[in-house]
């Protein structure tokens, strides 16, 4: 009996706090019908925001993917002093507010920053332009792949790699043929989370972007601009795309978890 009361309370909690907001996004987006929805998405500024979001993700995610694999290899396959300091430093972007993540790049590259005046003399515009957005996104999505791979590779140990090396494989061959297949699901998982965050990042990008419509607006920023103009349907329409991205990410995540046997175990009564 108590059990069902607890289950009910939990379902109510999840329903109120998670399901309702999700449903609201789509309900508000379609409030004026499907045609207004499509028109909002076909708007040139919206399309350029979508394009910019995809571009930024296409740069940030592969870079952080490579970094994550490299860092996980260094940390998991070797013993050295200072390893836990390194892991803490890699986790650093997680504990920093997104706004501060943007602020530090403004302090570095802005017109009053360290490198800003020098770079702008050379003609490089970083803050209030796309490179700044890419940098800020790289910062906030930095740890995802590494955090996923490090425990996985530590768990897998070095036996298989050592065996391969003994049998005559070169370093690269060992990596491609032994390590990579072992970590592929963790890698995919990390890339998924990294991508979701890269496309959805708001605070850090908001600080560095300058909000120039059609040029330096990513999708989340475009959502904000439309919302502040009281153009609710268009705002929710673009937001619904992001919400769909989140749902796809979650489904893929669940599929991978199911595949590798993680997630909720069967035990229950």
């Amino acid at each position: 009996m108590v059990r069902w009361i607890l289950i009910l309370i939990s379902l109510l909690f999840v329903g109120t706090f998670i399901v309702l907001p999700l449903v609201t996004v789509f309900a508000e987006a379609l409030r004026q019908g499907a045609r207004a929805y499509v028109a909002a998405l076909a708007d040139p500024d919206a399309l350029s925001a979508i394009g910019l979001t995809l571009t930024v993700a296409a740069i940030a995610v592969p870079l952080n993917l490579v970094f994550g694999v490299v860092a996980a290899w260094a940390i998991a396959k070797f013993e050295f002093r200072g390893k836990s300091l390194l892991i803490t430093l890699i986790d650093l972007p997680f504990s920093v507010s997104p706004v501060i993540s943007g602020l530090i790049y403004v302090l570095l590259f802005g017109l009053q920053g360290w490198l800003g005046p020098f770079l702008s003399e050379q003609g490089f515009k970083i803050i209030f332009a796309v490179p700044g957005i890419v940098l800020a996104t790289i910062f906030v999505t930095f740890p995802f792949v590494a955090r996923e791979l490090i425990p996985l590779m530590q768990e897998q140990g070095t036996d298989e790699e050592e065996a391969a090396l003994v049998l005559g494989a070169s370093g690269w061959q060992t990596f491609w043929r032994v390590t990579l297949p072992n970590i592929r699901w963790g890698l995919l998982y990390g890339v998924l989370l990294c991508n979701a965050r890269a496309m959805g990042e708001f605070g850090a990008v908001s600080v560095v972007s300058g909000h120039i419509r059609g040029l330096t607006n990513t999708m989340p920023l475009h959502v904000e601009i439309l919302y502040n103009e009281y153009n609710f349907v268009a705002s929710f329409a673009v937001a619904s795309l992001l919400a769909l991205l989140a749902l796809v990410t979650l489904s893929a995540k669940s599929a991978i978890e199911w595949k590798i046997g993680r997630g909720l175990k069967g035990r229950g009564h």
Binding site: A71, I90, V166, G168
Partner: protein, 329 residues
């Protein structure tokens, strides 16, 4: 050949015999060409004195240490450390008097109070409801259980701006939840209460996900033993389950709190953003940046960062303590 199979036999354990290991290494290196070939008579010195002067990590046949560590440090340095150093250098270069004046000004104090206070309240609320959720998900079976488990991660995956406008639309006075609440006289949107609701939303997964593994590992035998020894259900919960869960709960709370303190996107739409009333600290930083008051923005950011670093340290210490505590059992 015998040496290489000896290496295979001993691969998991670290062979402490320096001579055997050195000998095996030479054979292996020659076989695999993982490093530049060493000629047979260039065997590594075998005396313990030389081995004591060995570098800061044990030798390993796995290649790529220098390359990967170098790349990691370079990337980390460029992307993470350099900008953070810029921040602290900027903060340090501020006139100390102005720094303290900025941080202690009414507006900044009110913003910090709201950010940290609402985050604390949201963390506590999530500690309670998150534990409940984790318990229900791990211990009970009911239709839709897997779906609910997947839904827990929504606040983690949903972009913060989307969450912000959705929550605002929901709790505004003509919203689905806002309207009935307004009838009861409770105003959520554009008040500090709205900030609280938004923070509960985005920090929900942290507590649940931290507690779930611990609950899964909690074998029912412990509870059965307690029941056999005469404990009531409530006593079992209080004296057996909660102490076991506490470290994970504390860690989850700290993670939720840290995330909630810095949250920007989900909060600024629902908050109302009135200075001194419903303005959060990250928003204050953005406002000061837009006014080109870089110094003041840096000051507020530095204070927030210091508190975040302290939290990270606390989380690490907590985890280490809880691990030691559990191992002692």
């Amino acid at each position: 050949m015998t040496s290489s199979s000896a290496l295979l036999d001993h691969a998991p354990a670290r062979v402490h015999d320096p001579e055997r290991r050195a000998g095996a290494r030479v054979e292996t290196l020659a076989l695999t060409q993982a490093s530049p070939p060493i000629s047979a008579d260039e065997t590594p010195p075998r005396s313990p004195a030389v081995r004591a002067a060995v570098p800061w990590r044990p030798r390993s046949i796995i290649p790529g240490f220098g390359l990967t560590l170098g790349l990691t440090l370079a990337w980390l340095g460029l992307i993470v450390m350099l900008p953070l150093v810029a921040l602290f250098a900027r903060a340090a270069s501020l006139d100390a008097h102005r720094l303290i004046e900025t941080v202690l000004s009414d507006r900044v104090l009110a913003a910090l109070q709201l950010s940290f206070g609402a985050a604390l309240a949201a963390g506590l609320a999530n500690a309670v409801f998150g534990s409940l959720l984790a318990w229900v998900l791990v211990r009970y079976r009911f239709p839709g259980r897997r779906l609910v488990d997947a839904l827990i991660d929504v606040p983690f995956a949903l972009p913060t701006a989307v969450a912000g406008i959705a929550l605002t639309a929901l709790y505004a006075e003509n919203g689905w939840l806002g309207a009935p609440l307004a009838d009861l006289g409770i105003k959520v949107a554009f008040t500090p209460l709205g900030v609280f609701v938004a923070l509960v939303f985005i920090s929900l997964p942290f507590v649940v996900r931290t507690i779930e593994p611990v609950l899964e590992d909690l074998s029912p035998e412990i509870e059965e033993a307690a029941a056999c020894l005469g404990a009531s259900r409530w006593q079992t919960i209080r004296r057996v389950i909660i102490p076991i869960l506490f470290p994970a709960l504390a860690t989850g709370f700290a993670l939720a709190f840290a995330r909630a303190v810095g949250e920007y996107g989900s909060v600024i739409f629902i908050a109302g953003n009135l200075p001194m009333v419903s303005e959060i600290a990250p928003l204050l930083i953005v406002i000061k940046l837009e006014e080109y008051a870089y110094g003041e923005a840096t000051a507020v950011a530095a204070v927030m960062l210091l508190i975040s670093f302290a939290l990270l340290l606390a989380i690490n210490l907590l985890q280490r303590w809880s691990r030691r505590h559990m191992e002692r059992r």
